[in-house]
Symmetry: C2
Subunit: 405 residues, 2 copies
């Protein structure tokens, strides 16, 4: 029964399971007020429209056989056409040649890492940033540096600047138009590619839309073909994550290279899913986004109100204009990793913030998601969580003993 020892790649040796993720997985099936997962409320999925779309795609033997057969790596043309039109509504002058369909936007990140990164290549991210992006890029063994203090020269000079400009995972922050222009200028100076992760961009609850970086880039460059932005989109936060349909939009030359890399990675994204998603998106995308915004706005408001009501002194939090996340900064001496088991015993889940920092900092931070709980649960959950934080803030010794429980 002893596993053999093999020579693994250096990337694989560095990968290890996140203890937090494992902990949260174990408790996933208990009755729990979960602020942990950044996942959409399944009650919002447009089930009837998906049913209708499956009936359509399996409506006759000829279309059903097309849905069950191999298809092209770049993706189903009607879906790419729909997405090109969608990108145009965002100010990005795309044609279907500028679109690659991916198996979720996570695959977009992986393929972009594969395209651009050699060992020790530079990657610039915000800090904190999306854990899954750190994971994807890490497979190509780059050097991470922070947006505020990028390493600018040498072999680690950045090739890739990763940004989540709208309602970022994990901190809910939105980049101003000025900050987007500055990021573009910085990327130009470095001759780096910008990866614009737009996972949450459709979910704005207040304030004015700010143009996508891809759109600012195209406006300045005069053509999408001379841009440096790879826009990663997804249907996971609006229509369905379980269908695994995302896309990358960018200059044709890079899209073609990404297509070749995708061919080696999984040949193509499931044909059926692309046909069904095209049907559903064409039928309801705007209405679905509008409906989702109403529900999540109320939950965000409930969480902000509960925090204002129950937060102990010294607790700070972000006030996102959209998305799914509020970011908490606890008093310096509290370690959110150690607070988690305590919270789980009271049936409250969250994600400690250290995992979102490439440099391991942020131990006194946590991410709360408001997408999955209704207002009453949010009220109860925030009350309990704030009580725990208050207790930890006033009783250092208690907190430190969490480690052994």
């Amino acid at each position: 029964m002893t596993p053999l020892e093999f020579r693994l790649s250096s990337r694989a040796k560095a990968f290890k399971a996140s203890e937090i993720r494992e902990l949260l997985k174990l408790i996933g099936h208990r009755s729990m007020i979960s602020f942990a997962g950044g996942i959409p409320d399944p009650a919002l999925f447009p089930v009837a429209l998906f049913q209708h779309a499956w009936r359509h795609v399996f409506g006759g033997p000829s279309i059903a056989r097309e849905a069950l057969q191999y298809s092209t790596t770049e993706g189903y043309l009607p879906l790419r056409q729909w997405l090109a039109a969608h990108m145009n509504t965002l100010g990005v002058p795309a044609t279907p040649d500028n679109i690659l369909i991916t198996s979720g936007s996570q695959q977009g990140l992986d393929l972009i890492g594969k395209l651009l990164l050699d060992p020790e290549s530079g990657v610039v991210t915000a800090s904190p940033t999306y854990l899954g992006a750190l994971q994807s890029f890490s497979a190509y063994e780059p050097c991470f540096s922070s947006l505020d203090a990028p390493q600018l020269t040498g072999p680690a000079a950045p090739r890739l600047v990763y940004l989540v400009p709208d309602f970022a995972n994990p901190d809910g922050r939105t980049m101003s138009k000025t900050a987007r222009h500055q990021a573009l200028d910085q990327a130009k100076a470095l001759n780096a590619v910008i990866v614009e992760d737009a996972a949450y961009s459709a979910l704005r609850y207040d304030g004015e839309d700010i143009p996508a970086i891809a759109s600012l880039d195209a406006r300045l460059a005069g053509s999408i073909e001379s841009t440096r932005t790879l826009y990663c989109g997804t249907f996971s936060k609006t229509l369905s994550p379980g269908m695994r349909i995302g896309w990358v939009c960018g200059p044709t030359a890079l899209i073609r290279k990404l297509t070749l890399l995708k061919q080696g990675a999984d040949l193509h994204t499931a044909t059926t899913n692309q046909m069904v998603m095209h049907h559903v998106a064409a039928a309801c995308y705007d209405a679905q986004v509008a409906r989702t915004r109403v529900v999540y706005k109320a939950r965000r408001d409930a969480m902000l109100a509960a925090l204002a009501r129950y937060a102990p002194p010294g607790l700070k939090w972000t006030k996102p204009e959209g998305g799914m996340f509020i970011w908490l900064e606890l008093p310096d001496h509290i370690d959110a990793d150690l607070l988690l088991p305590q919270a789980l015993r009271q049936d409250i889940a969250f994600v400690p913030g250290a995992a979102f920092h490439a440099d391991g900092s942020g131990r006194n931070t946590m991410r709360l998601s408001f997408s999955l709980c209704d207002e009453a649960q949010i009220e109860v959950g925030i009350f309990k969580l704030c009580s725990l934080i208050a207790k930890a803030a006033t009783a250092r010794d208690d907190v430190l003993t969490f480690a052994s429980t």
Copy 2:
């Protein structure tokens, strides 16, 4: 409109589009007798069962919401249970912990490359071998060597031995039980992992089943946990390729590492597809395999008979016991790349063999697939192809001028 120049990874610089693939793509929609693609006949897809499965998975709001939601990276448990039982029928004592669901077996190959290969790590393959495996592994910049003459020492000492033991793509050959044992011994001596690509294994038309390498390995090791074989399976050749469902079966320690790498690559395989495929496989896998064998056996027989009837002197071909492919060796001086445009003008397609050789040899070879054409088309197609080859064999100058047409 000028694309910008970016610093790409060294792997991406080396990747280029296959001219042959591009050529075949262009003619895909014309009326054509195609022996080119290694793709299943869509007329064989169990469409009614897929329709039934979709109705089941979208039969109520609760199950539909599960199908549309995120799920675990390792895959849908009932499907992993079904696959573990399936692996046991093949003599591989697997539990669900030994199974990772992948987005087609192509993704299995990519993740295994990611797990094992650093730049210049050794990979041993047959020659010729599956083009897609060469593509997947190439992304990790290994050194390829041939099964007959592996490089045994130094940094390029093989970490991975890639085998397609049954009815191989592209040459249709099957490894004997002795050859499988020898490959295991060789892998043991090298402390390498064996990747057993079983894409075609279910499609046997004559002769006795030969045990999977994974099964021989487990029998000798006494437990799957002490094996060195990663078995890559797929539903693409039996139930549907467009659903993109494959699996890797192997020791838990390696499956866990692959699961972490998959998380960064695409989070998980589409939930819906796993649920539907479980339903369809449980309902009809054995019957569907039996039905498919009858049809493809008749086509293989028709192609072998037509070759026997029409082949010019000097043409050699394999006689596969299963799968989808017959491999042709033309007289030495004929270049199959140059023959292809000539064949396409007569509405016949095939894949020239050079692409399947990591070292660029095999220019006088070609792969013919018999899975997509009926017997009458096969008769006509082989007649025309043999006439072309005969002409090329007797008129060298004519052949050489193909290059300029």
